[in-house]
């Protein structure tokens, strides 16, 4: 079946189901921070005072199965400080934790060869050379890194050879095969221009280095921004920087942060969304000829409801209302609310932040990592947000949100609105921290989506999701043959009972982070899926019928199911103490 036919079929199959009678909500899933017990012990490096903007923006986390053993490994960026960067060129950009056994991790960074120093900001995973092994791209201040996976979690630094060093203050990274030639390409957003030899002193400018009367780090206001980059994959291990030619270079030099690909108009071609801090966000519509048209304003997804630019950080696409179209979640600076845009199709997007009930709760916080993710396997996407202020100095302000802030979970009420359930989920009982990136995936392979969160200046959190509520679920690992090997950009549509849902394989997203490349679907009470359709970037489609739930399936493009393993709940003895 050709892609266009599938898309048309998708429209027939996917009808709005808001308001229809649905089963009662399952119990709120409960999260437990298992990082210390699991062995995630390396503290993110950051100066306590955050005197300069470069010290506030790191960074992201990532999930990768670096040895294809079926268990997710964890990546965290390490950050740095101005002093360490000046003296030693920074720190190791990332830490890689290998999952040796269920929820037992070991730091293998050095053995893995991930030894480039710098100032790590973000992470994106893709198989750029289609050798079946996931590679790692790391953004950072002063230069980025591409690590080619040699197998068994050994990596080779091919940054210079590939021509993707980037430079300047790179932040977001996201891979996608935008020209559908079978090789993934790489978008890199960049933030502000920072000259390490001429750093503006905190409070040195009355307008740009003050916050509510406090002397704080300067920027981003008042600082020059950087252009963005698009590296086209030549297929021979090298890349060509084509951002200007493709129309995604950001000539206005807005302050780029989170970036995520997604086919918002269901035309089978990946489009790109870029969050800009204190500026309008970009929605680059793929024109199918190697170029893009920026349509953020036209589509109503660039700014807030009043046309005011926001301080946007993290991003994610997801069809939270099951209308067959990707909606957008954007996290923002304090006193702006995070923004939920509902995709109306031809009529563009509408800001439904207020009516969806996420405005009030998110308003006092600085939002970063985020995702649409079905935390209770109900078949409906919930929303998670990691928060944390950029100025430690705000702790001295009465009434102001503090530097360390809580995480938020919004449960989908299946009527277009969300209910904040952070307390019931155990999130508010956790220690406060200034958090940044968050990555989502089934780390324990028990069918529940877990979360890794970067805590600035501290070790990460591993939020183990105890969601066993009897709901069924499924995970799909895709392997491309004509398409790129990890199936990035493929769309899986699942019919189960009356519910039709879809998701796409994405590299990059949230805040400078990498989610599980396997696609997770909650199925509620449905023990099987009547139809599973995989639309590959190559244009091919695979359609499967009557597939049992509660498995992790590996699907080979054009061949169907190649492998499956039953999802097994964690038993007590497997939970690290």
């Amino acid at each position: 079946m050709c892609k266009s036919t599938l898309v048309a079929l998708g429209f027939l199959l996917i009808v709005p189901v808001l308001g229809q009678k649905t089963p009662p909500h399952p119990a709120v899933p409960h999260f437990e921070d298992m990082a210390a017990q699991a062995g995630l012990s390396v503290a993110h490096i950051s100066s306590p005072e955050k005197r300069y903007i470069v010290e506030s923006m790191s960074g992201g986390v990532g999930l990768i199965d670096c040895d294809n053993d079926g268990k997710l490994d964890i990546l965290t960026v390490n950050g740095s400080t101005v002093d360490r960067y000046r003296e030693n060129g920074g720190d190791l950009m990332i830490t890689l934790y290998h999952q040796d056994a269920r929820l037992k991790f070991t730091d293998i960074t050095k053995q893995a060869g991930l030894t480039r120093k710098g100032w790590g900001m973000g992470i994106a995973v893709a198989d750029y050379d289609n050798d079946g092994l996931p590679d790692i791209y790391v953004t950072g201040y002063g230069g980025n890194a591409l690590y080619r996976n040699l197998g068994n979690c050994k990596f080779e630094d091919v940054t210079e050879k590939a021509g993707v060093a980037g430079g300047a203050f790179s932040t977001g990274a996201a891979w996608a095969d935008y020209d559908r030639d079978g090789y993934v390409d790489l978008f890199v957003s960049r933030y502000v221009h920072v000259d390490m030899s001429k750093l503006p002193a905190p409070g040195s400018d009355a307008k740009f280095c003050r916050y509510r009367g406090l002397l704080v780090q300067c920027g981003p206001w008042g600082m020059a921004g950087e252009s963005d980059l698009l590296f086209h994959n030549r297929g021979d291990g090298t890349f060509e920087e084509v951002s200007k030619k493709a129309g995604v270079d950001d000539p206005d030099h807005y302050y780029g942060l989170g970036a995520v690909w997604g086919d918002y108009d269901n035309d089978g071609w990946p489009d790109l969304y870029v969050a800009n801090d204190a500026g309008p966000n970009f929605l680059y519509h793929n024109r199918r000829d190697g170029t893009f048209e920026e349509e953020g304003l036209v589509q109503g997804i660039a700014v807030g409801v009043d046309g005011m630019q926001q301080g946007s950080m993290g991003v994610d696409w997801g069809d939270y209302d099951h209308d067959g179209r990707l909606d957008m979640m954007v996290t923002n600076f304090v006193n702006q609310s995070d923004t939920l845009y509902r995709n109306l199709g031809r009529q563009g997007f509408v800001d439904v932040t207020g009516t969806s009930h996420i405005a009030k709760t998110t308003y006092p916080y600085v939002g970063w990592g985020t995702a649409f993710s079905d935390m209770d396997n109900s078949g409906w996407l919930d929303i998670f947000v990691a928060n944390g202020h950029v100025y430690p100095q705000v702790d001295s302000l009465p009434g102001e949100a503090h530097y360390r802030q809580p995480m938020l979970l919004f449960r989908n009420r299946r009527d277009g609105t969300f209910e904040e359930v952070s307390a019931a989920a155990g999130l508010t009982a956790m220690p406060l921290a200034s958090r940044r990136g968050a990555a989502f995936g089934d780390i324990s392979n028990d069918g529940c989506l877990d979360i890794v969160v970067l805590n600035v200046g501290e070790p990460p959190s591993l939020l183990l999701n105890h969601c066993q509520n009897g709901n069924h679920r499924v995970l799909f690992k895709l392997v491309g043959t004509q398409s790129n090997r990890l199936g990035i950009g493929a769309r899986v549509t699942v019919n189960s009972g009356k519910l039709v849902q879809f998701s796409e394989v994405r590299s990059g997203g949230s805040y400078l982070s990498q989610n599980d490349l396997r696609l997770h679907f909650g199925l509620g009470a449905e023990a099987k899926m009547s139809v599973v359709a995989i639309a590959w970037p190559s244009g091919k489609t695979d359609t499967l019928h009557d597939i049992p739930a509660d498995f992790i399936y590996t699907i080979l493009e054009g061949k169907g199911i190649r492998d499956k393993s039953r999802i097994s709940p964690l038993v007590d003895s497997e939970v690290p103490k």
Binding site: A206, K207, A278, V298, G300, G311, F333, K360, E400
Partner: protein
Amino acid sequence: MSSGPSRWIRRPEQLDILLLADTTTLGKRRQLGDLLRSRILSFCLIVLIVTRLAPGTTFAQTPNTWQTRAGYGAPETTPTAEQLFITGETALRNGDLNRAEQNFWRVLAIDPHSAGAYANLGVVYMRRKQWDQALRMLGKADRLAPAVVGIRLNIGLVYYRQNDFRSAIAPFESVLRDAPNSTQARYLLGLCYFFNERWTEAVEILLPLWGEQSLNMNYLYVLGIAAHKAARTEVDERALSRLAEIGQDTPEFHLLMGKAHLNNTEDDKALAEFALAAKGDSKLPFLHFNMGLAYLDKQDYEQAAQEFRQDIAVEPDVAFSYDKLGTVDALEEKDAEAEINFHQALRLDPHLVTSQLGLAKIYQKRGQNSEALSALDQVEKISPDNYTVHYLRGQVLQRMGQRQRAKAEFNTYTRMMNAARERRGRELSGDIPSPELTKEPE
């Protein structure tokens, strides 16, 4: 006749009356407002006339200074420019604006270089709230008589009265440079800095007024907030302790304290102070308005709406209350109610941008595209620097299928927004309207 500024300095109690006017009952407040506004205009005119005089002369000594060159030697049967000027001035004093306007234009027909005629026409248009025309006239007067500080003071007032505090800064600064003892210019400039969140400058400008104003609760409040924001702890504490000292347990004091907390986004503390104020005087003007703002900040829309309604019951003629009530209605998707309240706000203050924008968004949502475009046209007239107009207009045009026009609007939006980015604007800060604080000192 004494000069305006010295008269102002000798009678500081009038400022107290003015600034406390907000805390009196509505009837009294209106009377005081009218009285003081009238005094201010008279004062401005007098300042203008007096400062127009050549150095060493006074108005009393040389009343004919306003006589125009063309007036000398004219036939007795034809009114001279001087006579026309005096007639216009008398009419202006008596509030006969049409007659005043007519006479000053006749002066200009005889002497196109009469700065006084232009200046007084500016005053005529100020009284009519024809701000653009007022600015044009005052601008011409200023070019003809650049040494006259009163003209620049009036130019500043034109901006100030339109709540364009940013544009008012330059003329007030200029007045203060030439007349450093002008308390009025200093106070107004301080308020302009305050409303532009230039906290440090606000403190620097307002602090020298302490001797005269330290019994004025509004002054202390503004100074305290600015000092807090500017991290001038000593001034902040001094202002607040004086405020507490003179405010005692009065409702007015609790209102200001609540507002101070509100500015610091301490909503619960603000509401606690407002409750104390309400205990003393539940009909205190602006009390329920500020309570509404606190609840709005807490996104308790139902309670916010209730407070704005109560404020309207106390003061039915304050546009801001309807504007905020409309905003709450719109947030709750009660578009019909929001529309009514925005219209009412605009009836009271046709220049209220937020109400026009609110209407535009409602019409846009309903698909009433021409109405939406019309509302946006109004916003653009009132506030030509408001780039969000172009975004919203672009969205409406896009929905109408007028893609080229929409694209042009989005381009304009981007260009203006980028320019505003250079100026930073108010993006990172809250926007708490303070209609009670914008009252002009005499």
